[in-house]
């Protein structure tokens, strides 16, 4: 019959609704869902005080709006899951709060020719007590490299072999020198737990009780509500002050903000622009707007597979460029993001420093309805129907479908604004808001993608341009490539820059790539995000305001450095 709650730890926070990746790497998403645990006992109103919450100098409570998909690092795609996994698993090297590379499971990483050599830390144990050895590193790299498994496979495309010449050294060999150290992203998993599984089994494994070497151990998970980890007191590094970390799911921006205001949670990693001002005004909170390595984008279906159900008109560059000219980025910044974003152009946000490229005034494809109209007229779409929508010569309307995640209000607003802009140049857009799971599965349908345009976003997985630049690769079709873009020239440039060690030369190549992709208009990028975050000042201190975010960033250091109390 009905179940009675058994564990006090799995709190029945009723904030449930699925939804993933407000702006996250997301791919073959699995889960999410909700449901609270049940209380069969009737509530009564006793007169005394309210229940104690965990002493706030212990648990770091995060409130987010999308659930994790899985604990399996080989199949995960959501930012949320990667965030949690970064505390359970260690990588060989890692980013500090200043985003500089620091030793982690490896005390050093040395690149020489086509190899990278890692010297491993000693006396490290897994959460289940088994000692960590070089075999675990060898197993992990080989599994990903040989089978090109998961999102981290893109860093091992040149993988050749991995060996452990002695108990504390691992040497990874590639077919060419690597500009990016994959030890920075690959979480090391325990061989003794994973080796019994076949690759097929690994692909379906939910890894419900993950074992890692990280500073926090898995504690509990209630799907659609709560994920929590507790401090690993036998961790090799300096023990964190927090006794644990929990992430609670909220469906509604308002409710999430209220929860922060009345102390139910300690930090919100992605504050919605409309509630941010309210939080800024609250004296108990520290609210920040940080530069990020993220953007939101409008993707255009340029898949060429015969089964594609995307509108074939979008394969014509003039139409995509016309849409680009119709898009008013400043309006989106102001209205959809309440001013808390930056107008964008190319695929790399400015935080990438030298690699950042910006089109000049004549190269810019933005907010120019006259140019859009001219392009469409020149391409022959001069016929219009009774409502002013352009038509092809055989009478087909220039009408496209656009989808967005319903719980990501900034995306829905972006789509609404874009609809109005497109109408001005004679293109009709029909909006459908879906939940993130459905959107992801609709978009990433490689054989028969049934969509025309979407609004979504990306966070860079690493502090290196290769991640975002690697998304539109032909080889990433079936992987990250969400628009099925395929351009051999682009692919060639990517390979070149990935193996170019001279930084100045690399920057040149990277800029060429950005311009090429920008002009092709398969992505129309309206904004670079500002990471809006807010936390309770009295509960936690020693948090560094790193570009990219205090949490939800490449670095997990703030979880480790956070000091309870003020």
């Amino acid at each position: 019959m009905v179940s009675i709650e058994t564990s006090e730890n799995t709190s029945a926070d009723a904030n449930s609704v699925q939804g993933f990746g407000s702006f996250s790497r997301r791919n073959f998403i699995r889960a999410a869902a909700l449901t609270g645990s049940i209380v069969v006992v009737p509530g009564f109103l006793a007169a005394c005080g309210s229940p104690k919450t965990a002493p706030t100098n212990a648990m770091l409570r995060v409130g987010w709006k999308s659930d994790i998909d899985t604990f399996n690092p080989f199949t995960t795609v959501t930012t949320e899951a990667i965030e949690v996994q970064s505390l359970i698993y260690d990588k060989l090297m890692d980013y500090g709060t200043d985003l500089k590379i620091e030793p982690s499971l490896a005390t050093s990483s040395t690149a020489a020719g086509n190899t990278i050599t890692y010297v491993l830390r000693e006396s490290v144990t897994w959460h289940d007590g088994t000692p960590f050895t070089a075999d675990d590193v060898v197993y992990t790299f080989d599994l990903i490299g040989k089978n090109q498994l998961g999102i981290n496979a893109q860093w091992l495309t040149d993988y050749q072999s991995v060996t452990a010449p002695d108990a504390k050294t691992v040497v990874v060999a590639f077919k060419a020198p690597q500009a990016f150290d994959p030890g920075l992203v690959i979480p090391i998993v325990p061989k003794h737990i994973w080796e019994a599984k076949t690759v097929e089994q690994i692909k379906k494994d939910t890894n419900a009780s993950p074992i890692g070497t990280g500073p926090f151990k898995f504690e509990a998970r209630t799907q659609g509500q709560l994920v929590s980890v507790t401090r690993n007191d036998t961790w090799w590094g300096k023990a964190p002050s927090a006794i644990g970390v929990s992430w609670s799911l909220y469906t509604n921006d308002d409710l999430q903000a209220q929860a922060l205001k009345n102390g139910d949670i300690d930090i919100i990693p992605q504050v919605a622009p409309t509630v941010f001002d309210g939080l800024k005004a609250d004296k108990d909170l520290t609210s920040v707007a940080l530069d990020s390595f993220s953007f939101h984008h409008i993707g255009v279906n340029v898949s060429k597979v015969p089964g594609s159900k995307g509108n074939p008109l979008l394969l014509q560059r003039e139409i995509r460029q016309a849409l680009g000219y119709a898009l008013d980025r400043d309006q989106i910044v102001q209205i959809a993001y309440a001013g808390y974003a930056k107008a964008a152009a190319s695929i790399l946000p400015p935080s990438f420093g030298d690699s950042y490229w910006e089109p000049s005034a004549d190269q810019a494809i933005n907010n120019n309805p006259d140019k859009a109209n001219a392009l469409l007229d020149a391409a022959g779409f001069t016929k219009r129907d009774s409502k002013g929508i352009r038509q092809t010569k055989d009478g087909k309307a220039l009408s496209f479908r656009i989808i967005a995640i319903s719980s990501t209000s900034v995306d829905v607003r972006t789509a609404q604004l874009f609809q109005a802009s497109a109408a001005k140049v004679g293109i009709k857009l029909t909006l459908a808001a879906l939940d993130s799971d459905t959107l992801a599965s609709t978009v990433y349908n490689t054989d028969a993608p049934d969509w025309d345009l979407f609004v979504w976003g990306w966070d860079s997985g690493v502090n290196d341009p290769s991640y975002l630049l690697g998304v539109p690769l032909t080889s990433q079709i079936g992987g990250n490539n969400d628009v099925f873009y395929s351009n051999p020239e682009y692919d060639a440039l990517y390979t070149k820059q990935a193996t170019e060690i001279d930084p100045a030369k690399r920057v040149e190549l990277v800029k060429q790539m950005q311009q090429m992709f920008y002009e092709d208009c398969a992505y129309l990028i309206p904004v670079y995000l500002e990471k809006l975050q807010s936390y309770r000042t009295a509960n936690w201190s020693n948090l560094t305001e790193t570009p990219g975010g205090i949490v939800f960033n490449f670095t997990r250091d703030n979880y480790l450095k956070a000091q309870a109390g003020n």
């Binding site: 699925q18 009737p42 229940p51």
Partner: protein, 322 residues
């Protein structure tokens, strides 16, 4: 055939009708359900065929129906790909929360509604009666979800003081079970109040009308003739007889109650079946949606059955003609 047996037969046939209706409704969904429930996992042609077979989708509509019935009898409500678990497990977790909410509000609504309605009816023709009716009509015209929004604003943002979401305080640690009940009780206040404000009007109007009709009947004149006090007349005689039509009307109420519960659960993020229904719509998780609808409908049918039996017990004349 005795009334109870007949009524039970009606119940069973209604349940069968609902099950069939449910099946038909969810099997005319456009598109390939396998694609939809398998989400974004890449499937080979073999795997697709296997899943079609597992879900019994490769037979005729009738054989699919039989499989569906067989599964239902085994308590198998399907598998949710969003949650990656059997639907029955998800339902078990949520149905109790909704039951708690509905039981509490129904108690309040029925008791308070009938009392107010009878009171107003006894003052028929006077000011207090008319103002009560007007208040009730206004309350009945309110959208439940909007009342919820106003209460959230008042007690969550403006004045504050009451919890506005969830069933418990997140990460709460309780010293004893009373604290837990108290926490839940606090969280129950606003959702219950939201449902009550609108639904109470229903009972006020029905019981008032019913009392007025009863008061004008012959046996009431007799009672007055006997010299019984007004109080005894109303509360002793009138009340009991007025209750019967109220029971009949409850049939309509129960149906409406379910709608109200969904709205309340959505506004307050109360983790019950209403919120589950809402979420399953967002994610197009049809197995879950189907199960929610079926359970809700069957619950309503059973509640009506119980009401009818109660009515029959109170007034055995009923059951001859509807």
């Amino acid at each position: 055939m005795p009334y109870i047996a007949r009524r039970t037969l009606t119940l069973l046939s209604s349940i069968v009708a609902i099950v069939t209706f449910n099946f038909l409704l969810f099997h005319i969904i456009p598109g390939d359900p396998i694609r939809l429930i398998a989400r974004s996992q890449h499937l080979t042609a073999d795997e697709i065929a296997k899943l079609h077979h597992e879900y019994g989708l490769d037979g005729s509509l009738f054989s699919q129906y039989l499989t569906y019935l067989k599964n239902l009898l085994h308590g198998d409500l399907g598998f949710s790909f969003t949650y990656q678990e059997p639907v029955i497990d998800i339902v078990k977790r949520t149905v109790g929360n909704t039951a708690l909410l509905l039981t509490t509000s129904t108690l309040i609504v029925v008791i308070a509604g009938v009392l107010i309605g009878v009171f107003a009816g006894s003052r028929h023709g006077k000011r207090s009666d008319s103002s009560t009716v007007i208040a009730a009509l206004v309350a009945w015209s309110l959208p439940t979800f909007w009342v919820g929004m106003l209460l959230v604003f008042t007690f969550g943002v403006w004045i504050g003081g009451l919890p506005i979401s969830g069933i418990k305080t997140p990460h709460a640690i309780y010293d004893n079970i009373f604290q837990k009940w108290q926490d839940i009780g606090m969280h129950l206040i606003l959702p219950t109040l939201t449902l009550a404000i609108v639904d109470i009007a229903f009972f006020v109007i029905i019981s008032r009308t019913s009392l007025i009709e009863v008061m004008s009947e012959d046996y009431m004149l007799t009672a007055r003739g006997k010299g019984l006090s007004r109080r005894t007349i109303v509360w002793g005689h009138g009340f009991r007889n007025a209750l019967l039509p109220v029971l009949t009307a409850s049939v309509l109420y129960i149906s409406a109650l379910v709608g109200g519960a969904i709205q309340v659960e959505v506004v307050y993020s109360w983790p019950g079946m209403g919120l589950l229904t809402y979420n399953s719509v967002l994610s197009r998780d049809y197995p879950v949606l189907e199960a929610c609808f079926l359970i809700t409908a069957v619950a309503v049918l059973v509640a009506n059955f119980a009401t009818d039996l109660l009515y029959h017990k109170l007034d055995p004349r009923v059951g001859v003609q509807k």
